[in-house]
Symmetry: C2
Subunit: 241 residues, 2 copies
Amino acid sequence: MNLKTGETRRDRQRAATVAEIKAAARKLLLEGGASAVGLRAVARELGLSAPALYRYFGSHEDLISALIADLYDELTDTLIALRDGDPEADLGGKLFLIAGGLRDWALAHPAEFGLLFGAPVPNPLAGDHDLTPGHQAAMRFGAVFKDLVAQVYRQQPFPHPSDEALGAELVAQLQQKSEFFDGMPAGAVYLSLTYWTRLYGLICMEVFGQLHWALEDAGAYFQAQLFEIGEALGLDCPLPE
Amino acid sequence: MNLKTGETRRDRQRAATVAEIKAAARKLLLEGGASAVGLRAVARELGLSAPALYRYFGSHEDLISALIADLYDELTDTLIALRDGDPEADLGGKLFLIAGGLRDWALAHPAEFGLLFGAPVPNPLAGDHDLTPGHQAAMRFGAVFKDLVAQVYRQQPFPHPSDEALGAELVAQLQQKSEFFDGMPAGAVYLSLTYWTRLYGLICMEVFGQLHWALEDAGAYFQAQLFEIGEALGLDCPLPE
DNA sequence: CGTTAACTGTTAACGGTGTTCACTCCGGCG
DNA sequence: CGCCGGAGTGAACACCGTTAACAGTTAACG
């Protein structure tokens, strides 16, 4: 059976167990936050001994990394579904959809969001050009936004700051990423980066509770900010209310 | 001596020990990140037994909270010194100074920054109107920015979005904070919030390594963004380079 | 088919953590 | 002086990630 892949019964069993482990880890993460997903806790969740998990993951950190990669993938799929769900929406509308979708996901899964986008600060280690599956999944996630912005620009180039306004040093760095951004000029890459930076900052602030002192419900503020950013990208946005 | 406060010799000794403990915690935080500042590690650092620390802090979390409050205070002092250090600078210049100062501090102390502004996510507990010293210190910190923006507006009101553009719900929330913002109208409060949100997001992204994929050195990008935000606040900013 | 090797799981143990308890000091107060 | 209370101790508990030595099962190969 399936001689091509050489997939044996044990391989399938193993894959199933790995999935079970990650599912248990997700459950613990959802219920008790990041600190609740421990090696022993996961093992306990599926009636195993803690050392048994070492047959599937090299360490606790490896498990967490795999979990992060999965979460990235799931979030990416959610956003893609949102992007392609409404065939009536134009490119700008899709941009609004996935921005709102990211915020909704972050608010619904704060612990998961913190794991993905919070501080990997304790690791200012040697220059590791991360090729981990987690990093790749993060790239796949970011590409959803990047590609959409690039499509918007391709369809109707939005006005962007001139090279002189940005300064030579910044332009040099931006032009390095021009190819990655579908050949967009530095100013347009700059605006794309601004879009992402503001969106990220907005959601971080809200999820991390850094906005409570000013706003009870940041929903309206988020919409207004999104409107501003959309304007900068030359989109005609729906006025609030 | 000092009968008013009833400050006895033991009280002074105690305060000194508390300071020593927090100093050791800071050292560990600086050297090994947030995870390195453990109860036993701190005790080890000053030749004490772990349980001894319970005479000074009710728990490990209490120690961390006290540390956070101290860090907030220190950061606040740093920014205030920066603000008042150059008597030549006008209000807008001061705003640029403290924004850059915050970024510099964050980059120089990433672990500390993560502790202050990173995810307190795991605690979505009951509605606790935080009156902890940490929260108060955070307010004192935020006020440095808030007051400066309010002074800028007072000196020369910057153009701000109209109530209609913001939407009724958002305006209602903003007006609730009008008094806190020196009587500024909703649109101006909105712009102040935008200033802070963008600054925070920018620094978070850089410190948390969320910008590495796009920019090696985010310094120029930061300056350009600061310039944009300053423009929105009606400041005449120095063009880069 | 039988043998062998690899895989999955176990228990025991090590060093680490935060925390509590019972106990000893000793300085300052009435 | 007597004594209370604060400071500090070591032992212990329950948890954590991780390793080692061992047993049962399953797949692969001659």
